[in-house]
Symmetry: D2
């Protein structure tokens, strides 16, 4: 796979097996080769493009995704407040388009991320996203996490579900002491219901607003994402027995 970046910073993720048609003209497939990485290549109408090898962030950015998908600012927060690292044992539900899965799997590798998803058709889209990105350490289970968690000694359970409170009891048995459930909810009411059911956890709820600046004119861009989700970080601090 190759990554093309045009003059406007737009990215094109391509296989390199055929010509690429862009708003700035056609890039011939012959240009797309290892020797040209880091070089400026030109379209047939003379426009400049940069050629790179894509990284995980490019694959995440270009993944097929739903309209309400979690954004990088949010999964950054998850990394920053849970301290996941190579070898961390992480369970996730639901998989959705798999973009959060890719971010988590990328950090915990070679450990395998376990991702629960009830719908096989959605899982299939996620698997395509993983394959394209070359990520091998994700296992999707076609199963509702509301019915239980098979894994034990887990460091982090991440939930992007409509009824996260239904996972709390299962999580208590699956998590290590000191481990986290992180629940991501668009509605503050879901967060509240989740929060009220927590017992044996210390919890905090955060939201993150990210703003991008145009440093040429020294001002923020005019529009931004106002909201993706509220993120509750619940750490298991107590378990009976």
């Amino acid at each position: 796979m190759y990554l093309l970046i045009d003059e406007k910073g737009r990215k094109y993720l391509v296989k390199g097996n055929k010509d690429v048609h862009t708003n700035y003209g056609v890039i011939s497939k012959e240009s797309l080769n290892e020797r040209n990485i880091g070089r400026i290549i030109k379209s047939r109408i003379g426009k400049k493009f940069f050629l790179l090898k894509p990284n995980i962030i490019d694959y995440i950015e270009k993944a097929k995704r739903g309209p309400q998908a979690i954004t990088p600012k949010d999964f950054g927060l998850i990394a920053a407040y849970t301290g996941i690292r190579p070898g961390s044992r992480v369970v996730e539900a639901g998989t959705g388009s798999g973009i959060l899965s890719m971010f988590l799997a990328n950090i915990i590798m070679p450990e395998k991320l376990i991702s629960y998803e009830v719908r096989e058709d959605i899982a299939e889209i996620a698997r395509e996203n993983f394959d394209r990105a070359g990520i091998g350490n994700i296992e999707i289970k076609i199963k509702s996490i509301y019915d239980g968690i098979d894994e034990r000694d887990i460091d982090l359970i991440v939930l992007d579900l409509a009824e996260p409170w239904r996972v709390i009891e299962h999580a208590k048995n699956s998590l290590k002491i000191g481990g986290y459930i992180v629940s991501y909810s668009p509605s503050i009411e879901q967060s509240k219901k989740f929060h009220r059911k927590l017992d044996g956890f210390v919890a905090e709820t955060r939201e993150c607003l990210m703003r991008e600046w145009n440093l040429t004119v020294m001002r923020p861009h005019s529009r931004m994402i106002a909201h993706t989700g509220f993120i509750t970080f619940a750490r298991l601090v107590h378990r009976e027995g």
Copy 2:
């Protein structure tokens, strides 16, 4: 090391070799043992505490740090927009209190993080923070990164410096094609100067506002951090030769 959490959620990082004096009474050193992890322990005046093994985030939170230190929301953004992972080759300058170093090293382990710091006294505080957290994969170089970068084939260079633009030329030779310089600056004017000197990079500048909610009363907390720094993500897309 042990982590005590009191009723208000306040954390105490302790060695376990002596009694702990808190606002909620004294915890005897005998309570601080492996068997009590995850149990509720009580101070001499009967107040409840949770006992955990600290993780990297606890160590970062409790590290000796300067007043202007980078916060988790910011280093989460760095992870989210650069895709670092086990084995990533990362260089950082300056080390400061080392809290960003710890976050980065935790993700890229077992790869060693190289951290440039000109002041030996500051490096010493950082090393104490690393030792306490049990992090072994950070090497501090007492050297100004303005004078050059020894490493090659780097995925990410993170700068928390007054004059980040002085690193750009060195970075070009050190970075892999597609790698990043991320520069964190409190002042938008520093960001501008850095941005204007970039050549051969595609860059974006972001800032992040994090707000915490009290779900018991369903409102955000009254106060928040309004600003830490502007973060410029510059990706090397072109190199002559």
Copy 3:
């Protein structure tokens, strides 16, 4: 009344009938006279002060107030989204410290603002704030607005109450068609309850985050107010009969 501003921008609201003791030394009462307005005056230890006539904003800023009081960004929003002006007929409840009352009365003068407050002791503090500011067009009614609104043909009803939904039915009869109820609530749950009871209104809920910049160092200040209240603007668009 006079307004003194010291080198740090701190304000002192004084009567001018005695010496003023500040962190920057004593200002003699003789300095506090009309001729010195706009001049630099000095404390006994030689520190510079500016001397002004206070305006309504100074009185609001210096009013005795509760900890959760509404802030200027919020009452600015009320002016901006309701279009109040000289002669607008406005009812408010509860009075509290009266700072919102002062802002509203200042704009609608010479029309009288009617302000409902159940507690005579609180009303007394508000009246002192009004007297000091020289505002004559506010009438406090010691009465619960939950029991009814005496006034008719009202342009705007502003509520800063725990149970604003109890005012909706009364408001329908008091408001002009096209008039507004604006309800300010710290908790989003109160806003929801208010919103759900609205019938015959078109409503929007807003919150406002204000950030202050230090242009000397070109960065925002480090701390800010994260939250005061959610403001629901409900406009009466339909009335039976």
Copy 4:
């Protein structure tokens, strides 16, 4: 003029002299009469509309405007931090589409707002906006405020100009002691230049982020305006002589 509001809350400002064609069907001109104010009227396909008399905010919302025009959150802030009221003497430059002019004039009436604008074609659009809204107390001067301010004893000068610093010296002679220059700039660099030239003023720079909530699903809307302008409030505290 009449204001129609459809089921989605969209507004239509109409004269009432002809049928109105909307996405929800045609409203007959016969429906648009005083007796129907506050009643539900129906389009030919049976969709419900509310009929109101427009207020100043409706006229501002519906005014012809440029893409970068100031928004209500911003002019609210100006009212909240300057304390303008009936009779305040206010000068503004440039007029632009006149939406800020309308807001200011609405509050200071019957006092006349003086608005400087260099371009007659732009002034003409503003005048149309004023006429439609029935605002009589605005006088546009076709003149550059950089060349001087004719008025004296001014409470507030509001600038929405590319080079606001060129007005400072003129403002010093025009403002009352204690009066304000408020400068609105999209770029923080313009704000800085303005701020550095201030002498004899106490100044603060603010920006305002407004977020709207959907209380049906209890979450903020997905998108928001990230930036309009930085607003510097400079108060004249000292004048030689």
